[in-house]
Amino acid sequence: MPTAMDIYKLLPKKNCGECKFPTCLAFAMQLANQKVALEACPYVSPEAKIALEESGAPPIRLVSFGSGELAVKTGDETQLFRHDKTFYHPTVLGFVADDAHGLDSMKSKMSAAQAAAFERVGQMIRVDSIALKHSSGKAEDFLEAVKIAAAQKLPLVIMTEDPKLMADAVALCGQNRPLLYRATPQNFDSMLALAKGCCFPLVIGGTANLDELSQLADKAKKAGVSDLVLEPGTSSAAQMLESMTAIRRAAIKKKFRPLGFPTMTVLGKSESDLMKAALGVMKYSSIILLEDVKPEFLFPLLALRQNIYTDPQVPIQVKGGLYSVGEPNEKSPVLFTTNFSLTYFTVRADIEKSKIPAWLLVVETDGQSVMTSFAAGKLTPESVAKAIETEKLKEKNGRNELVIPGMVSRMSGKLNELTGMKIVVGPRESSGLPKMLKSIAG
């Protein structure tokens, strides 16, 4: 972001006060803090306006494609390390359907991409896109596939380096805003003209190095095409890491505008490509295309993406409530824990290990762990008693006994007083649960 002094230099310096601030400098300070809009100044010159918009733009442009509820946003990242703030837009994963294998195969790839969705810790994680590629197959098949895919919900990537065929495909897309793949040094001018005409985002790739890539991006931008995605070379994981790091650093630390765009990596399905996809999720690929990969790999990859793109300041939570582990009845043991997802999953897994059915009461603590929420006063005998009340525990279970985490043994007395239940202090670490449950249930 520009400083107040940078902005001040571009203002008319009339101190007219029409912006409701006494001086232009005061107005500049408000602008630098993003408290007011530049439009409040009636006298700002068009040149200054462009310059200010340019310098105020995010270091990496936000580019979106697709339409409707599944449309994806990429780019607009501000960090090199997630712990410095967060990564905002999870890597878009897409499957490639190649016309070399015929229309039927393309159709089945489309269905595979549609179906690749999993629910995990209360969120849907899925393959976000389908890429249709023209290689050695028939152009009619390719266009037919575009027509079918454009009518479906998944955001679309159209892959051909032939500008004429790309134009035919674009004409079939209607409102489904596809990503056009790709402009290369060989077809650059005609692809650029096409992207400018239809206003769809364009991938630039196939360059010899990052220097050439940045020059083409700069050229495109000057020609008025700003929705760009950059595809650096990825011959090895080492090269991929180097290019992706260079682009991210240049954009964020050097404010180097020609590389301030989302990035893309196109892979196959070899073992090394699979691991490169995992690398891209961690190290700055905005979009990754794979051939449809086996679920044994896809699910862990999507979980990795979910983990890496979790906001470090906002823990993943589970919903408060009474959960059953196995098929508990009115005589089964009752335990409680907090709604920090890691705590919940760990405790749940350890109860499952005991093979003893049990009730697990999850108390809402804004996603904090047992110790943290206890220290912060969010986990109190009162909040536990209230959860017992709300969940009507006593109607479901007549044991009248509550196993509490060993870390909060101090709340035993008060909890007993509030609930009338017998309090059993559990282990300090949930790994001790199987042994303990066996002893109290046996």
């Binding site: 080492a238 691991m275 995992a278 086996k294």
Partner: protein
Amino acid sequence: MGFDIPKERFPGRIKEVSIGATKEQGGTRRASLAVGGSNGLQFHKFESESPHGPLIVMDVLDTVRVVPEQLMHSIGPVVKEPVEWAKKIEREWGADICVLKLQSANPEEENRSVAECEALVKEVLKSTTIPLMVYGCGFEEKDAKVMEAVSNAARGERLFLGLAEEKAYKSIAAATMANGHGIVAFSNLDINLAKQMNILLLDFGVKPENIIMDPLMAALGMGLEYSYSVLERLRLGALLGDPVLQMPIVCDCSCAWAAPEALEDNPQRGSVELRGIYWETMTAYAAVIAGADLVIMRHPQAVVKLKAALADLKGGA
């Protein structure tokens, strides 16, 4: 004018630590393996040097009690024979280092005696030639005795003994110091605690070149993002010049097999064993990308996959 890659130069460097001792050095290992020594972010070879790639440690457990059922089959009959298991990871599965986890010393389970633990360590040393690390069962009083015995029995081998924790480090530190071994300093996902552990050990008299840190690797889906960021921050802190953070890092990725999602039956997510293999591979891959110098692994096929990925990250042949 060409585009220049914006490069980062750091004032700090990770300490070089060697594990295992050869005959000349007073041990019986075929090699003493060095880790650490890097002056940049992991695999950023365009701007830094990393003389020693991440090493692969494979674990050997002395009781089947803690081995998931699905793994029994992949590891095979040797799962019941720790000495045979150790031979296998060296000769067939390509481990750089072996870590023997003496879980059966647990006084609440098998409660195997100190003498039996010591005998097992001796037998593993006799049957293998790769460097060895030995972990206790996590019960302070028992581990104090086991580690003392192991340390004496393996004098000169330059074992790495673990895990030293904030509230239980003195006896194990004393055991390593007595016979020239190294120590693994454990901390629970907390960069300040990781630093504190190193300070405690240094104050106690352990030499910095005898310490590696274990900041707790959480498996994929089980809080991996916390570990990932702790690792990145530890590595950056070390490179920015904090000498108390410059110890190499070991991440125990066998924890992937304790993640329920890695092993639950769910046809939509594919076969259990292969999913588990990728679960472990990806956990270890994230660990090395974020900064681990050593990863502890369990499944031979996960090791194969990780090794190929490491070669690719180093730029191939």
